[in-house]
């Protein structure tokens, strides 16, 4: 079959011995165990090895082990690693994501959970549709009913409701609980007046002009506050407010003590200290003179904000209730609902049964679990045999519901002193100076539980800077330019400060948020530095815009002239005159395209092509899913071909988003607004973009650009971190956070902690994650804010010293002086690149264009080409006196020599058909022609069908699956993963034909066996589909054919080559080989035996061919039937063949 290794095929990596710390954990038999593992310490490796150890050394049955992690990728990778190590037994370990385990359990126990067994998971699109349906159920009091705006999907009450539901469900808070906490609307609004009354009390009693007069007012203030407090009940929202007032009473006491001490000469206070009591209790409308504006401690604001959240929740709760009803009615569960339902189920008898299903539960990335997931996991554990690995220092998803204390206090509470702790601190990733910085910076984390100190082991030699700082320029453009210069230096590698040159794919730009990347990417574009934006960062890509415009035009063909014009210009390259003709039609551009005689246009062929494409696509629009329409759009118009390499990378992101909509029955409305939103997907539904459940695909030929959140779990030789300033990293509070803690931790814990300080801690952990992604070089780019000085701040200090413990807010909590902190933690051997590698490019950096003997900058080179192009169009180009050429030294990093030619049967076959085709496809990897799509009218790819069948056969062999139903299941799984649902039925037909063959009952000895055959100094590689043992005991090599093409078995070279390869692979001789046809021309097997003489003559012939290939070049070619399928038939040779063939 193919010569390529299937990308999903498990390979044994990490085949190295565990290090001592890891070995202790792997071999330990103590449970429950918690491993707090630092970044780059091989935690997943250790966990996988521990599972292997259980199976191999302790005889634990794989299906008694449950392994949980966050991403599908991680679960798949774990399963594959286990499979590579343990063989088919590896597949029997239940490796799930935290969500997929719930799906599994609920499917198995649907009736017990009160669900229809056919329930489905709501897609993002379905959730949005439901939210729109329930908007009229909301009781609008504090929430405005607006749902509109230029991108209506990102704003307004619909998004608010989605976000509210998400926050509540992740903490397992039901509408009923919300209702109980809040009480009636009248009560909530009555309580809403409390902050005003507190402020009045402060105004009434604390307006004195000296410490002594204010001191006199404190007892009355206290009395009034106590009266307010005592009028409140002990339940729900009233209890929360009561608790708040209690803290204010403590504050009064503390203020009284401080002022008395001042009066007694025992304590000094700053000049305007007498204003503090009234200020802290919100008695001033803004900070009075003498009280710094950045103190931001008018405490009634905290209560007011909490009450605002309550009023919002009061309105949205009816929408939440209606949403839940609607999900239920449609037999759907949303992602968060999966966990909610499962936890509910586990509280019933089923819980006990399920507790016995697994003997061991392994959990990865435990710091990212939320409260509900914690409950879920603890209910699945039997006899405390749980193994938890994670890193509290890398907990960066608290902002979307993760409960960091799950990995610390909560585990302690559940398992008590039996919980074993083992550390993993030996790092295999980063150079020590990077780790020193990371370690030091972590010291600043308040309430840090871990005491880990990361230490590098087995550090290779390195001659260059490791930690570099760049003081950022004031101007945005200059700032971006600094990083461009750094990047160019890294690519060139010529600077002395660098150990080596880096490929673009080795460099990562990690940003705190999207805005930080945008200006840099613009400069990367200008400098020709290739980059790939991962995950949820959106960019303005012209190519993506064109594809989106095509979808918009299809959505409203008669109304959207702008999109048609875009498509006609950028894809169909219509001339300005033809565009004007299209637009001249009184009924608009669509009518202008379709309803005018072709003769009126300068280029009627192009118009004809446009008409054919849009008529087919508009027909499809009525019947197929969004993702199907999108696929067809790309296939039919070959729009990819018109995009630059960078644009194709950008488009991959859109592909991914549209893929998520799959082919579900409920499809998003194909409106222009919806399509617009695809370009700004992250703002549409944050859970899809920013959750810990997804991980980006990486580029190896472009700088990888992503948010730090997305980079978790990844590593790069070089990491650039821009915008490290206090302003850009300022912590803030999160929507519904106080409300959420009231309901999940109890009404009296709302004001237990300062949630802004908590966010500042998370920001520090985000910084830690970013730093520890770097292996060799870390570039920190930032600057100090004016406020970050060490000047004395007497008022801040006084407040700090007065505030009692029960008041959690502190003067500096809302400020994170990140650059100042970093400066203080820098290792002594750090470098400052501001005036060196960030301002001057050292050495010969590629990216230059030469034209004859002239050296041109990239943009001058571009202008020169455009000038020539324009002259060509105008017919005014003149022949240059000398034969000058453009040559471009592409910015793709250091050139690596081409690998030695490797041959395969397919490449030899191509050579024999036409040396030029072979040269283009296998030697220089030439650019393919633009061509109409290679698919049949039904949109089914035979290539995909073939791959599905082959891969199914291979997995079936490895899993020893011999039944048709098992093959079906494997094939369905693969088709699901590859989104090849259209091809699935055809692949299943191939399976049916396979099972009609006798060989389906034979013993399968080997499958998808890779070989390397040495033939007279040449290397020939490939894969043998299968080796069977016939009922007579003979071995036979079988190659599956799922296509319609019949192979001549007598003159064939493929099968003899496989038999030659088998000589090295198997001890037992194999002399027979054949084809198993499972496509339309099957089912049949054609096989025969090949004698030694035949094999030797094939060997000799192949050797001669490979000798000839050594001299291969573009020059020689053969024309013939193969030209019809050639990817390069636009060349003159193709034209020659067309003429020979009668102009076909």
């Amino acid at each position: 079959m193919s010569d390529e290794v299937p990308d999903w095929l498990p390979t044994i990596e990490d085949d190295e011995d565990p290090k001592p710390q890891q070995r202790t954990i792997i071999e330990s038999e103590r449970y429950p165990m918690r491993v707090l593992a630092g970044a780059g310490t091989g935690k997943t490796f250790t966990m996988v090895r521990k599972i292997e150890n259980l199976i191999d050394e302790h005889g634990v049955s794989p299906d008694r082990i449950l392994a949980l992690t966050f991403t599908n990728n991680a679960a798949d990778s774990m399963r594959e690693k286990l499979n590579a190590k343990l063989g088919p037994a590896g597949y029997d370990v239940d490796a799930y994501t935290y969500h997929s385990i719930c799906n599994e359990i609920l499917t198995d126990y649907a009736y017990d959970a009160g669900l229809d067994p056919d329930f489905e998971i709501a897609t993002d699109a379905e959730k949005y549709v439901i939210v729109l349906d329930v908007l009229d159920e909301i009781d609008y009091r504090a929430v405005k009913p607006n749902v509109y705006g230029p991108d209506s999907y990102a704003n307004g009450v619909a998004t608010k409701l989605l976000s509210f539901i998400g926050s509540m469900k992740r903490s397992g808070i039901s509408p009923t609980e919300i209702e109980e906490y809040l009480g009636s609307p009248e009560q909530v609004y009555e309580l809403d007046a409390v902050p005003d009354r507190v402020e009045e009390i402060a105004s009434d009693h604390l307006g004195g002009r000296s410490v002594s007069t204010v001191l006199d007012g404190i007892p009355d203030t206290r009395t009034d506050l106590v009266a307010e407090r005592d009028a409140l009940g002990d339940e729900g929202l009233e209890a929360s407010i009561k608790d708040f007032l209690d803290r204010l009473v403590d504050l009064c006491d503390a203020l009284e003590v401080a002022f008395e001490e001042h009066e007694a000469g025992e304590r000094s206070l700053p000049e305007d200290a007498h204003k503090l009591p009234k200020y802290l209790l919100g008695g001033y409308s803004s900070a009075p003179s003498g009280i710094p504006n950045d103190l931001k401690l008018e405490l009634t604001d905290y209560l007011r904000n909490a009450l605002d959240e309550c009023k919002t929740a009061l309105d949205l709760n009816t929408g939440y209730e209606a949403y839940e009803r609607e999900l239920d009615r449609r037999n759907l569960l949303d992602f968060d609902g999966l966990v909610v339902k499962t936890v509910e189920l586990l509280e019933t008898d089923v819980g006990e049964r399920l507790g016995d299903r697994w003997d061991y539960v392994f959990c990865d990335e435990f710091q990212d679990t939320d409260r509900l997931q914690f409950d879920l996991i603890t209910s699945l554990v039997s006899e405390d045999r749980i193994f938890v690995v994670g890193d509290d220092d890398q907990a960066i998803y608290e902002w979307r519901g993760a409960n960091v204390s799950n990995i610390t206090d909560e585990l302690d509470d559940v398992f008590g002193p039996d919980l074993e702790d083992e550390p993993l601190e030996q790092n295999f990733r980063s150079r020590q100076p990077i780790l020193d910085l990371a370690n030091d910076a972590l010291e600043r984390l308040a309430d840090r539980r871990s005491t880990k100190t990361l230490t590098r082991v087995d550090e290779p030699d390195f001659d260059g800077d490791t930690v570099a700082v760049v003081e950022e320029a004031d101007d945005e453009g200059d700032r971006a330019e600094q990083l461009v210069t750094v990047t160019r230096n890294l690519l060139s590698g010529d600077a002395e400060a660098l150990n080596r040159a880096y490929d673009p794919g080795e460099i990562a730009l990690l940003v705190r948020n999207n805005d930080h990347a945008t200006p840099i990417l613009e400069r990367f574009d200008e400098a020709g530095i290739p980059y790939q934006v991962a995950g949820d960062l959106s960019t303005e890509s012209i190519g993506v815009g064109t594809v989106v415009a095509y979808l918009k035009a299809l959505a409203r063909p008669e109304e959207d002239d702008v999109s048609w014009n875009r498509v006609l210009t950028m894809r169909y390259r219509l001339t300005d005159a033809d565009l004007r003709r299209v637009n001249s039609h009184e009924d608009g551009a669509y009518a202008g395209i379709c309803n005018q005689p072709l003769e009126v246009f300068d280029e009627p062929d192009r118009l004809q092509e446009v008409r054919e494409h849009i008529s087919r696509l508009l027909k499809l629009r009525e019947t197929v899913s969004l993702s199907h329409l999108y696929r067809e759009l790309k296939r039919l118009t070959n729009i990819d071909w018109y995009l630059s390499e960078q644009e194709r990378r950008d488009l991959a992101q859109l592909d991914e988003i549209i893929d998520q909509y799959g082919n579900d029955a409920v499809q998003p409305p194909l409106t222009p607004q919806f399509i617009d939103s695809l370009q700004h997907y992250d703002s549409l539904l944050e859970e899809s973009g920013s959750a810990p459940t997804s991980q980006p695909e990486l580029a190896d030929d472009a700088v990888n650009v992503m948010t730090i959140h997305k980079s978790k779990g990844l590593d790069f030789p070089v990491v650039l971190m821009p915008r490290l300033t206090a302003d850009e990293w300022e912590p803030g509070s999160r929507t519904y956070d106080t409300f959420e803690s009231a309901l999940s931790e109890g009404p009296e814990s709302v004001f237990d902690k300062d949630l802004v300080a908590q966010d500042a801690n998370e920001a520090r952990r985000i910084l830690h994650v970013g730093i520890t992604r770097a292996e060799e070089i870390l570039v920190l780019h930032g600057s100090i804010e004016e406020d970050d000085t060490d000047d004395e701040r007497p008022v801040h200090d006084a407040v700090e010293s007065i505030l009692p413990e029960s008041v959690p807010w502190r003067p500096s909590n809302g400020h994170l002086p990140i650059w100042r902190d970093l400066q203080e933690c820098l290792p002594s051997n750090h470098a400052d690149w501001t005036a060196s590698l960030a301002s001057t490019v050292v050495g010969d950096v590629s990216g230059q264009v030469t034209y004859g003997s002239e050296n041109l900058s990239a943009s001058d080179g571009r202008d020169r080409v455009i000038t020539f192009g324009n002259k060509l169009i105008e017919g005014s180009i003149e022949r240059e006196p000398e034969n000058r050429r453009f040559s471009i030294d592409a910015l793709t990093g250091p050139m690596t020599p081409n690998p030695a030619l490797q041959h395969s049967y397919t490449s030899l076959e191509a050579y024999e058909e036409c040396p030029r085709q072979h040269f283009l496809d296998y030697v220089v990897n030439g650019f393919s022609d633009y061509r109409e799509n290679g698919y049949g009218g039904d949109g089914i790819s035979q290539r995909i069908v073939g791959l599905l069948f082959h891969d199914t056969a291979e997995i079936a062999a490895k899993e020893q699956a011999a039944e048709r139903a098992e093959w079906y299941a494997i094939c369905e799984r693969l088709a699901g993963q590859r989104r090849a649902t259209d091809e699935l039925p055809v692949a299943k037909e191939c399976i049916d034909r396979y099972f009609d063959l006798d060989l389906s009952g034979w013993e399968i000895v080997d499958a998808e066996r890779e070989f390397q055959l040495e033939v007279d100094g040449h290397e020939l590689v490939g894969f043998i589909d299968a080796v069977y043992r016939t009922p007579d005991g003979e071995l036979v090599v079988i190659d599956y054919k799922a296509t319609e093409r019949h192979r001549d078995i007598d003159e064939n070279k493929q099968l003899p080559l496989y038999l030659l390869a088998c000589r090295d692979l198997y001890e037992e001789p194999i002399t027979s080989a054949g084809y198993a046809y499972v496509g339309d021309i099957g089912p049949k097997v054609e096989a025969r035996s090949f004698d030694e003489g035949e094999l030797d003559s094939v060997r000799a012939a192949v050797s001669t061919t490979m000798d000839r290939i050594k001299e291969t070049s573009f020059r020689g070619y053969e024309t013939g039937e193969h030209c019809r399928w050639c990817q390069h038939s636009s060349l003159p040779c193709g034209e020659e063949w067309r003429q020979e063939d009668g102009g076909r």
Binding site: Y140, A142, V147, V188, I542, V562, G588, Q673
Partner: protein, 317 residues
């Protein structure tokens, strides 16, 4: 656009044989970007409207004001005018609002209340500006045209009031945000010399010029009358108050007169109009100055997605 037979209403002695009449919108579009004018008015490329909510609301309140002004005599009682407005609004709302444009009934209801409040405040018997507007109105939706400084201008005025001093032309808008003030008017000079780009205020200035000169050349004008022009923002301030039983909206509107700005910047405004007028009549559509237009006009332009001038920048990059 072309008119060979200039209106009979032109003052005596005017001798024009071939004048191109242009509206302030067209001139301002051209002053914003020449290519935009090409797409919008020459090629007439249809832009799908992102939302018609504001357009429809504008029609509803304009319609209500028109009905009230048409029906009102100078001596009508303020309460009667108010009642007339409150009675007229529901029908105007029904006529102009498309319920399908709204994602929910609640949203439509919210906007209905907002507009109704605007009408109620405007026609408040106790000091609402609309009472005088209705009593003094001599014509609504009046088509005005003029030839001045060699160029033809035309446009439809929302309401023309006959005041003690003369004539006051009113243009009703939703809000006055971004409408020209004396403080911001110097931007007209910057726009003219290519150092800044402010098509919104340029448009305000063009409207002011068109309506002031238009009314002077109309049958409503008598020698010696003073002529004023104002924008009026009906929903200029809206406030939202929540209560246990639901929300309450209050709205306040007020005018902004631009007559003085017109007088102060007369030469600049006419230079700007003349330049745009000449460009349009000579079919010159190459954006200039492009760097400024690219930075200031392109980001909000409806044609950006298809504009070859704009896309070429991105493609080159």
């Amino acid at each position: 656009m072309h008119c060979k037979h200039v209106s009979n209403l032109l003052p005596e002695g005017f001798d024009v044989t071939d004048v191109t009449f242009l509206s302030p919108s067209r001139l301002a579009t051209y002053a914003d970007c020449q290519r935009k004018f090409d797409y919008e008015y020459v090629q007439k490329v249809n832009v799908p409207e992102k939302t018609r909510l504001y357009l429809n609301q504008g029609r509803a309140y304009h319609g209500t004001i028109e009905v009230v002004c048409e029906a009102t005599s100078p001596e009508d009682d303020a309460q009667l005018i108010y009642d007339r407005a409150v009675d007229a609004f529901p029908e105007q709302w029904r006529e102009h609002i498309e319920p399908d444009e709204y994602a929910s009934n609640a949203h439509q209801e919210y906007q209905r209340l907002e507009n109704l409040e605007a009408i109620k405040t405007f026609f408040d018997p106790d000091g609402g500006h609309g009472i005088d507007h209705a009593r003094q109105s001599v014509e609504t939706e009046k088509w005005l045209e003029c030839v001045e400084n060699g160029i033809g201008l035309h446009g439809r005025a929302d309401n023309i009031l006959r005041t003690d001093e003369g004539i006051h032309v009113i243009d009703y808008k939703r809000k006055l945000r971004d409408v020209i003030t004396f403080n911001t008017a110097s931007v007209l000079e910057d726009h003219l010399d290519g150092t800044d780009h402010d098509p919104k205020r340029v448009k305000n200035a063009f409207q002011t010029a068109t309506y002031i000169e238009g009314v002077k050349q109309s049958d409503l004008y008598e020698e010696g009358m003073s002529v004023q022009f104002s924008f009026y923002g009906l929903l200029n301030r809206t406030s939202f108050e929540s209560t246990p039983d639901g929300y309450q909206i209050s709205v306040r509107g007020y005018p902004r007169e631009t007559t003085d700005i017109y007088e102060e910047y007369y030469d600049t405004i006419w230079n700007l109009m003349q330049r745009a007028h000449e460009g349009i009549t000579s079919s010159s559509h190459i954006p200039d100055p492009f760097p400024l237009i690219h930075d200031e006009a392109c980001p909000d332009c409806d044609f950006r997605e298809m504009c070859a001038d704009y896309l070429a920048e991105g493609v080159q990059r």
